[in-house]
C-alpha cells in the first residue's frame, strides 16, 4: 500500500514513540515503516516485497541517521541519486545536533533535521509540526501520495 509518510528507524521503541506522536494528528494510519535502509529503498523503488505497492512517492521520508548496516546518510545518497526518487522530501532524525552530522545531511540533500529530544512532549511536538507541514501545508512534488481527507 502507498502511504504519505515513510518512517525509517531500526529501533522498535523509537518507532512506537514516533507513531504515538503522529497518532495525535491521526496520521498514524498514513505511515509506512521500514526497519532498515534496504527495506526503505525497496519500498521507495517498489521492488522485492513491495513490488505490488501502488504507484506514488511519499510526501516525506523521516529517516533515522544512525542505523546498522546502511546509515541514514547512505540511504539519503541512494534516494538523491535515483531519478525517480530524487525530489522526495527527506527529514533526518538524530539523537544529536552534531554540527558535522547536520552539515553532512544538508550537503547530501536533506530537507530538514530533527533532534530526538529527551522529553517526549518536546519530541512529539516537533514530529507533529513536521507531519503537519509535509503532509498538509506543503505542496508535494507531483506524483506524491497525499493523505485522504
Amino acid at each position: 500500500m502507498s502511504k504519505p509518510i515513510l518512517l525509517v528507524d531500526d529501533s522498535a521503541a523509537d518507532v512506537a514513540l514516533a507513531m504515538e506522536a503522529l497518532s495525535e494528528l491521526r496520521l498514524d494510519d498514513h505511515v509506512a515503516v521500514a526497519r532498515d535502509g534496504e527495506q526503505a529503498l525497496s519500498f521507495l523503488r517498489r521492488d522485492g516485497s513491495h513490488s505490488e505497492r501502488a504507484e506514488g512517492n511519499p510526501c516525506v521520508v523521516i529517516l533515522d541517521v544512525k542505523m546498522p548496516r546502511m546509515s541514514g546518510f547512505e540511504v539519503l545518497s541512494a534516494i538523491r541519486s535515483d531519478p525517480r526518487l530524487s525530489r522526495v522530501p527527506v527529514v533526518m532524525l538524530s539523537t544529536s545536533a552534531d554540527r558535522a552530522d547536520v552539515e553532512r545531511s544538508y550537503a547530501l540533500g536533506a530537507n530538514g533535521y530533527v533532534v530526538k529530544s529527551l522529553s517526549f512532549s518536546e519530541f512529539s511536538g516537533r514530529l507533529r509540526d513536521l507531519g503537519r507541514y509535509w503532509t498538509a501545508a506543503n505542496e508535494p512534488p507531483p506524483g506524491s501520495v497525499v493523505p485522504r481527507a
Binding site: 521503541a13 523509537d14 544529536s96 552534531d98 530526538k116 529527551l118 522529553s119 517526549f120
Partner: protein, 427 residues
C-alpha cells in the same frame, strides 16, 4: 861521476825538508781526517769491497753505536753487516744494495740493526761507488747515520697521529650511532604516538557509540514514563509521583550524556578561525538568557569588548556558559548585576564576566574547571559540572587561558584571554 858538493847537500837537505814538510802535512791531514771521522758520534764511516762487501774500514764510533768491537766488523763471516741487520729488513737491504751497486748508482736507504745489547738501532746508510782508473767499481764507501732518535720521534708522531685518527673515527662512529639512535628514537616516538592516537580514537569511537546507546535508552525511559503518566488513570498519586521521578531522573541523565558528547565533540572538531565580534555574541547570549531569568531582575552592564580571532560557534558557547553561570549563581538575589568587560593585553583580548552572586571558596578554583565537578548541591543550583570544563577546553583550543576569582558570598569573576583579531592599523 861528480863528487858530492855542498850544493848537493843543500839540495838534499831542502828535498828532505820538503819531504818532511809533506810528511808533516800528511800526518796532520790524516790526524784531521781521523779526528773528523772519530768526532762524528752518531755516524759510522765505512769502506768495503764492492764485490764481497767485506769491510776494510769502520770508524770507531761503530762500537759506541752498536756495542760490537770494530774488529768484529772485519772478522765476522760471512758478513758482519748482513749478520746484524734486523731479520725483517735483511733481504730487502741486501738485494737493494746489490742492485744499486751493479747499476753503478750511489744509494741511500734506511734499515734497522740489532745492537749487541739487543736494542734496535735505525740506520740511514749512504753508500758511494768508488771506481779504479778503468772505471770499474772496486769499493763502496759510506756513512751509516744513527737515526734512531729521529725515527722514534717520527714513530711517536705517527702513533700520535694514528691515535688522533682513531679517536676521530671513534667520535664519528659515536656521532653516527647517536644520529641513528635519534632517528630511531624519533621513529619510535612517532610509532608510539600514532599507537596512542589510534587507541584514543578507538576509545572515542567506543564512548561515542556507548553514549548514543545510553542516551537512546534514557530517552525511551523518559518518554514511556511520560506516556505512562498521561494514561495513568488507574495509578494513585504516590505511583504517579514515582513515575514522574523516573521521568525527571532519566531526562537529567540524558542531558548529562548530551553534555558529555558535546564536551568530547568540542575537543576534536576542527577550529574554523575567523574574526569574531564579541559584542554581538554577548548581545545574542543575553537575549537568549533573558526569558529564563523569570520574575527577578538581572542587570547586565556590558562595555564595548572588541573582536577576537576564533571559531564563532565555540566562542559563543564560552560566552553563553559564563553568562548562564553568572545568572544561575545570582539566583538567590531578587536583583542581581552581571558585568561584562573587555580589554587589550598585548596581542590578547581579555574578557571578564563578574557577578554579585554566591561566589565560591577560592581553594576550589582549580576544581571548577574539571569536568563533572560541582561545588554546590544540585538542590541549590541545577547543573552537571560540564559548563566550565567546556569553557576551558574551548579557550585552550584557541591557545588562550581562563581563570577565576571569588570570595564566598562576594560574587565571582571569570576571565579568559584569546588572541585579538588584528584590525587594520589599530592596536
Amino acid at each position: 861521476m861528480q863528487g858530492t858538493t855542498s850544493d848537493d847537500v843543500d839540495r838534499i837537505a831542502r828535498f828532505y825538508a820538503r819531504v818532511q814538510s809533506v810528511e808533516t802535512d800528511l800526518a796532520s791531514g790524516e790526524a784531521r781526517f781521523r779526528a773528523l771521522v772519530n768526532g762524528l758520534p752518531d755516524t759510522i764511516v765505512w769502506e768495503a769491497d764492492a764485490d764481497t762487501v767485506d769491510f776494510q774500514f769502520v770508524s770507531p764510533s761503530a762500537e759506541a753505536i752498536l756495542g760490537y768491537p770494530v774488529s768484529a766488523w772485519y772478522e765476522e763471516r760471512p758478513n758482519f753487516w748482513v749478520n746484524h741487520l734486523h731479520p725483517e729488513d735483511r733481504d730487502r737491504c741486501v738485494s737493494f744494495c746489490k742492485t744499486e751497486t751493479a747499476a753503478g748508482r750511489d744509494h741511500e736507504f734506511d734499515y734497522r740493526m740489532i745492537a749487541r745489547d739487543g736494542r734496535i738501532v735505525w740506520m740511514r746508510d749512504r753508500a758511494y761507488c768508488v771506481r779504479d782508473e778503468s772505471g770499474k767499481i772496486v769499493k763502496l764507501r759510506g756513512l751509516m747515520i744513527d737515526v734512531t732518535r729521529q725515527k722514534t720521534i717520527e714513530a711517536e708522531r705517527a702513533a700520535a697521529l694514528e691515535r688522533e685518527r682513531e679517536a676521530r673515527a671513534r667520535a664519528e662512529a659515536a656521532e653516527t650511532a647517536l644520529r641513528q639512535l635519534n632517528a630511531t628514537l624519533e621513529e619510535r616516538v612517532r610509532d608510539r604516538t600514532s599507537a596512542l592516537e589510534q587507541a584514543h580514537r578507538e576509545l572515542e569511537t567506543f564512548s561515542a557509540a556507548a553514549s548514543h546507546d545510553l542516551r537512546s535508552a534514557l530517552r525511551h525511559i523518559a518518554s514511556f514514563a511520560e506516556l505512562l503518566e498521561r494514561r495513568a488513570g488507574g495509578l494513585d498519586d504516590v505511583a504517579r509521583s514515582h513515575v514522574h521521578e523516573i521521568r525527571g531522573a532519566s531526562i537529567r541523565a540524558g542531558q548529562l550524556v548530551d553534555r558529555m558528547l558535546e564536551l568530547a565533540r568540542l575537543g576534536h572538531v576542527p577550529l574554523r578561525e575567523e574574526p569574531v565580534d564579541l559584542d554581538a555574541i554577548v548581545r545574542d547570549a543575553i537575549a537568549e538568557l533573558a526569558p529564563t531569568i523569570g520574575a527577578r531582575r538581572v542587570d547586565f552592564d556590558v562595555s564595548t569588548i572588541g573582536r577576537v580571532r576564533g571559531d564563532r560557534e565555540m566562542i559563543s558557547i564560552v560566552v553563553r556558559n559564563l553568562l548562564q553561570n553568572a545568572v544561575k549563581f545570582t539566583a538567590p538575589r531578587p536583583a542581581a548585576k552581571v558585568e561584562v568587560r573587555g580589554r587589550r593585553e598585548g596581542l590578547d583580548l581579555v574578557v571578564t564576566v563578574r557577578d554579585d552572586g554566591v561566589g565560591f571558596d577560592p581553594q576550589y578554583t582549580e576544581r571548577l574547571f574539571q569536568p563533572f565537578t560541582r561545588l554546590h548541591a544540585r538542590e541549590d543550583f541545577e547543573g552537571h559540572g560540564v559548563g566550565l570544563a567546556s569553557v576551558r577546553r574551548l579557550i585552550e583550543r584557541h591557545r588562550g587561558r581562563v581563570w577565576a576569582r571569588s570570595e564566598p558570598g562576594a560574587g565571582a569573576e571569570f576571565s579568559f584571554a584569546i588572541p585579538a583579531a588584528e584590525e587594520g592599523g589599530a592596536s
